[in-house]
Amino acid sequence: MIKALFNLVLAFFLVLSLEGIARKIVARVQRRIGPPWYQNFIDVFKALSKHPFSNGWVFDFGVLMALGGSVATAMLMPLGSLKWTPFPNTDNFFVITYLFTVGALGMAMGMVGSGNPWASIGISRALTQMLGYELPFLVVMASVIFNYKTASIHQLITFQGEKWNLFSMPLGAIVAFISLIGMMGKKPFDIAIAPAEIASGPMVELSGKYLGLLQIMHDFSLFVEISLFVNVFLGGGSLGWFLVKFVTVWVVAVLISSVLPRFRIEQMLKFYWGVPLGLAFLNALFVVLGLTL
């Protein structure tokens, strides 16, 4: 259980500071100074310290369920090796992805419960987006699981002892990275939280501490998504190596997302169900024929 709590603490501090660094990177890309790296900590605690409005018990229940779901998923996530796996017999891939959707559904219900049509439009976009990026990712993961005959993450890590999945299944890694950007809701795919079009979508009625709690929930979900990608495709190694890989994946994603404009829903779906899905099936074909590098 201590490892699980360590997971939470690490997730909170690591991802918040990484987001501060991301804002710095984006600022540097736009040739301006940008906020200090600890800016997100200040934002979260400032938001938590304000006197909020609550739109009814569903609104509160939804926020609690969202945070509960993503905290539970973060506690399940192994960090790079068996030594750092909180619950070795329950870190099945499908359990993690579907427990992750508990958070998403809780947030969706809470935000629509706020009664604001902006939020419903944002949530309908977010669910459509989930349909978009989730399918190529699951097909690639199915081929990885079929290849190594196991779905438990820490066993997948040990199988990648000498060669990372990134090199043995390059197609799968590329598709997984593209859907990772969609999962994180970074720039090209932040249709659901578009501040200009739908007044920051689902977060339109979030004031004070709800905004802070949702920000923490977003951090835990970022932590889960990126560590899932790092565990499955970039092999294992000690905790230090895991953090290095985590940061590099995050920086690459931020660089890509800082220069791309926002997609529309159809464009996003056509994009995800076009090339990435094709590559995913191609990768599955290679795996079935045993052609992994």
Partner: protein, 626 residues
Amino acid sequence: MALGLLPLVLLTLSIFIYLVSKMSWKMGALLNFLAGLFTILYVFTLKVGTFEKLDLFGLNIQFEWTNVSFYFSFVSLLVIVSVMLFSTKWLETQKYRASYNMFLLMVTAGSLGVFMAADLITLYVFWEIAVLSSLLIVPMEKKEARKAVVVYAVMSAVGTYAFLYGTFLAYQRYGTLNIHGIAQGMLNDTSIGFKMAVFLLLSAAGIAKSGIFPLHIWLRETHGLAPNAFSSVLSGQFIKLGNYIFLLVLSVIPSLKVFSEVTVYSGIPLPNYILIALGNVSIVIGTLMAIKQDDMKMLMAYSSVANGGYILIGIGTMDPLGFEGGMFHIFNHAVASAVIFMAFAAVIYRTKTQKISEMGGLIHKMPVTFLVYLFSIISLAGIPPMSGFISKWMIYQALVRKGMFITAFLAFFGSIGSFLYVFRPLAGVFLGQLPRKYRDVKEAPAVMLTPMVLLVLISFFLGVWPFPILQAIEKIRVDLDVAPSFKISDPENWLVKGFAGSWNPVLVFGLFLVGFIVAYILYSLFPRPKKVDLLAPHREEGTPINIYTGGEFIYNPDLYHYNTKFYAGFERMYEKHPSWEKLLKMFGKLFHDAGEWIHSWFFEPSSSAYTFWVVVTLLLVFWVRW
């Protein structure tokens, strides 16, 4: 009381209940419920393996009570008993109350008979009882339901008569009607073609009943227009009849051994593969059509199509995990869709409309119905704390383990699509702004809520501690020796094991609770929120809605609720989709016109031409004298 008498007693009881309901329908409904309760308790006492032979009007009926029949009767009785309790209060909205009670009991008797039948003819007889009584209940409430019942009758007729034809084929070749006898005969039969024909003909009844691809058209209108409580039985219990046929055909007749020489891909024989392909197509159709429906009951009808596809895929793989996943999904789908339809019935009982676009914000008035609906869609969509996830997890494990990537892809598409279409009524009907005309809607009566809450609690309990039902299914799997050596559930250390890793449902639920508590602690640490009253425009006129409206004053809540065309972005992508219904309607039109042409040929207006044709036909008949 002997095993065979149970369905017959229920049938006579239904006549008696008809008379009682004539006097007072409340008494009739109560009696109905008690009869159901008695049956479900009696089913527990029956010993597995008792064989019973009865001859009734010269037809010898054979019953056999196996683990499979226990499991299926328990599932369907659970749904029917809760609907009977539900309709004790709900029936006041109906006109034909007495016949509703009678036919509901007949449906129970029929399905019990089907699950207990040892030979195909008794199965067919009780199958007809169940189908005919449901045919009579469906058109009871709405006028348009009459046309829908015709489509339903045709579709199930296609299925049942193909089944009957398959039975006679098997009887003519193997000399016996007993299921195990046929299975033995098929084992040592050599001609693949004949075995395949019998297999597909028998499974046609399953395809028709559980709404798999070619025969899935009737589901939308029948579920949409049937009396609300009965559509819960229709989707919760009637689909199980179809699934029983699949089980019968796929595993009671051991399809792996029977068709071992025509294996297509990773150990799955050709007929199974055909059925799985049909299951895939029905998942895609069910999900895509459900996402764009505006009528909430039709939406759930299409979700039954999709979940029927899931069950078929689960059982079709004949892989221990897939088989057990499919069987568990039968239970989950039955409970979840029964509760969802009952929740819709409660909503319609209060708001008198089925269209999502006309409703909204009902959570302020019907919170318990909202919670019941929320937990059942969590189970239907397959999300961890509820039991729906375990069955889907097993099916995914089997599909990925066998390397069937197309089916796995479609299964993932179905499960994520199910998030979308179960969320649409949640957001459109329960959340958002309450329209003016539903200002004084009250919560559904308590009698209606108790069955829903009970079913949700059962599903919740099984989600956290699935081992009782997993052991029951494991007993079935060992009976039908589908890879009996493989252990899936071991309750000692709370693990559900699969090929590719295991997981611990109690731990996952515990973690979710810990997460919830951590969230609540964080929530209560910080300043208390100021309550925003979403019902302000309803309380006193002239106060604008107090949510962010771009600085404008909005006084009319009806304008400010987003529920029509909820997934507009996604629906636009498949606007002009090929419709299977239009194809069949075109065929129907073709036959209609041909008949019209021949009809006009004979029935001339002039009497002379009419007599001429009569004479010609008579001559022809005598000349041939076959």
